[in-house]
């Protein structure tokens, strides 16, 4: 095969990718940059307003700052708890006891069902009078909670719900745990190390690349949380669950402020990149790769 023919076939097979990157990534990003400088409701002609959208965002739109806070609060609370919960579940599922297949299925099911289904179900669980949680609390004599109607409770409630669907993370952790060489763990046990020692000096270092992957993916997903608050509270009470993407969605589709929504999207892109960069930068302090010097 000559070089030219390789090149021809290569580009032919990759045509969908090259076109896709142009049509579905580069072009939309370009549209976002341009439209963020306009005021536009998709019906009347767009009006150029320079940096007006950003001026409005930073200095006049208090809901922007509010949604930014809600987004970070949710992400900072949910991601660490999700990682710890999923890691704990994976450690449990990695033990050799009978019926493990059944347990794995049970812990994975909540991640399998559509988000809209789990959202509907949890709305019902959180129901103040007839929901499972308050009925249960009442039955054991504990005070009932205003899960979704108390501004201080609504984000912790959404976080609790997110801990229910950590099955995907559990499976990734589980696969990582199964890759740990048995000899390593045994060596620690022979040296008289207990479970804590094994966890601290073998399991955690070995798992750090997997933890890192789940951390990055968790942060990117957390910053984008939308469906749950949109369906359950529509951002309430008192905008306490108005997440960033929900704010963006409302600006675009409820108020038809397309230019402003694009400006918000760009800021989200920058925030995500900065945050990912911080996580990546920190990673060489705590992520060990096999073959590296320890």
């Amino acid at each position: 095969m000559t070089f030219r023919k390789d090149s021809l076939w290569g580009w032919l097979f990759c045509l969908p990718l090259a076109l896709g990157l142009t049509i579905w990534v580069a072009f939309p990003l370009g549209v976002a940059v341009v439209m963020s400088l306009f005021q536009w409701n998709m019906i009347s002609p767009a009006v150029f307003i320079g940096l007006g959208n950003f001026d409005f965002m930073f200095f006049k739109d208090h809901l922007f700052w509010n949604s930014l806070w809600v987004m970070f609060y949710y992400t900072l609370l949910s991601v660490p708890l999700q990682l710890v919960t999923a890691f704990g579940l994976a450690l449990m599922l990695n033990t050799k006891v009978k019926g493990m297949g059944v347990f794995r299925t049970i812990f994975y099911l909540p991640s399998l069902i559509p988000v809209i289904v789990s959202t509907a179900l949890w709305m019902w669980l959180f129901n103040p009078q007839y929901g499972l949680f308050n009925l249960f609390l009442d039955a054991v004599g504990l005070p009932t909670q205003e899960w979704l109607t108390n501004p201080d409770m609504v984000i912790p409630s959404l976080v609790l719900m997110s801990l229910w669907s950590v099955g995907n993370i559990v499976i990734i952790f589980l696969a990582g745990l199964q890759g740990i060489p048995k000899e390593l763990e045994e060596a620690v046990t022979v040296d008289g190390g207990g479970a804590w020692h094994r966890l601290r000096h073998v399991i955690l270092p070995f798992m750090s690349p997997v933890i890192f992957y789940n951390l990055v993916m968790g942060v990117i997903a957390g910053l984008q949380i939308f469906t749950q608050p949109y369906i359950m509270t529509n951002g309430g009470p008192a905008n306490a669950s108005l997440t960033y993407v929900l704010h963006l969605y409302k600006q675009a589709f409820q108020f038809s402020k397309m230019g402003y929504a694009n400006a918000l999207a760009l800021i989200l892109l920058i925030l995500t990149m900065v945050l990912s960069l911080i996580v990546f930068k920190s990673s060489n302090r705590w992520v060990y790769y096999e073959g590296d010097k320890k």
């Binding site: 095969m1 090149s7 076939w9 290569g10 580009w11 097979f13 990759c14 969908p16 990718l17 896709g20 990157l21 579905w24 990534v25 939309p28 990003l29 549209v31 976002a32 439209m35 998709m42 449990m92 033990t95 006891v97 347990f103 812990f107 994975y108 099911l109 909540p110 399998l112 069902i113 559509p114 988000v115 809209i116 289904v117 509907a120 179900l121 949890w122 019902w124 129901n127 007839y130 499972l132 009925l135 229910w164 995907n168 499976i171 990734i172 696969a175 990582g176 890759g179 690349p209 992957y213 990117i220 939308f226 469906t227 369906i231 929504a261 694009n262 999207a265 989200l268 995500t272 990912s276």
Partner: protein
């Protein structure tokens, strides 16, 4: 390890697993319980923990109050087309990136992986604007066409798999006079069945579960998917929890069935990114 210690760790493992089961299974039992209650049972006091006579007809009532059959059809329609598009595009792209040496290959691969870091929420509004210019709003086009242009995660997964197939096969085929298309169809595709199965199952899962896509693009209730149908049920029958829970169960059932038949592929798909990455 002494026998004594071993037994204790086993005891704790079971205790914790059972505790976890309460939290992870409990909501599903509540869903099932609510879906077979009459309306009066949902709001009964003291609480009915489990109905004495299950009212299975709730599951039929759903089809009478909203066009659930249409929603099923629309969802399956989208799933089928997304699988077709995803398979054709990603298999070809990954084949070129893994097996054909050509200029620009590494750049394309890197750009593709890079898109994984761009939140979907960032491109959703400008893509919506793009579709409005193309005249594709309120149709299935925006929910099908993009699948024909490759997906970074699937490309990554397939490239990893294709690379693990020994190159000697390609060379032998070349000697026999085969070209790249024959190598792809007769050699790589049959050998990559497990990876292709993962792609099919995850496309099914993602399309079936997609909420934001249909929410953005579909206004006409004749075009609604199951996810949107359940949302409209939530807003129009917001206190009929027995019907809502029956509907929620109907939306999830096909996924659970597929999961039972394809557990292995699920696990391979989920772990592909985390471990080899």
């Amino acid at each position: 390890m002494t026998g004594h210690r071993f037994r204790w760790s086993r005891f704790w493992a079971y205790a914790l697993l059972l505790l976890g089961t309460v939290f992870y299974l409990g909501p599903f039992l509540w869903q099932l319980r609510s879906s077979i209650l009459p309306l009066s049972g949902v709001f009964a006091y003291p609480v009915v923990w489990w109905p004495e006579e299950p009212q299975w007809k709730n599951y039929l009532d759903i089809f009478a109050i909203i066009p659930f059959g249409t929603y099923y059809f629309n969802t399956v329609f989208l799933v089928v087309w997304n699988i077709v598009g995803t398979l054709i595009s990603n298999v070809c792209i990954a084949f070129a990136l893994a097996r054909i040496p050509f200029k620009g290959r590494n750049v394309l691969f890197a750009l593709s992986i890079g898109t994984l870091m761009i939140p979907t929420a960032v491109t959703m509004i400008p893509t919506y604007i793009e579709w409005s210019w193309l005249g594709g709003l309120n149709s299935f086009w925006p929910l099908i066409v993009p699948s024909f242009f490759g997906n970074a995660f699937f490309i990554f997964l397939l490239v990893q798999f294709f690379r693990s197939i020994p190159r000697e096969y390609d060379e032998a085929a070349f000697v026999d006079g085969a070209g790249y298309p024959q190598i792809l169809l007769k050699l790589i595709v049959p050998m990559a069945q497990p990876a292709i199965a993962v792609v099919v199952i995850f496309t099914f899962l993602n399309t079936w579960n997609d909420f934001m896509g249909p929410l953005f693009y579909l206004n006409d209730s004749k075009l609604f998917t199951l996810a949107l149908g359940l949302k409209s049920l939530l807003s129009s029958y917001n206190s009929y929890w027995h019907l809502l829970m029956a509907g929620a169960t109907l939306v999830s059932l096909p996924l659970i069935i597929v999961f039972f038949f394809a557990q292995k592929s699920f696990i391979e798909g989920l772990t592909a990114g985390g471990i080899k990455g």
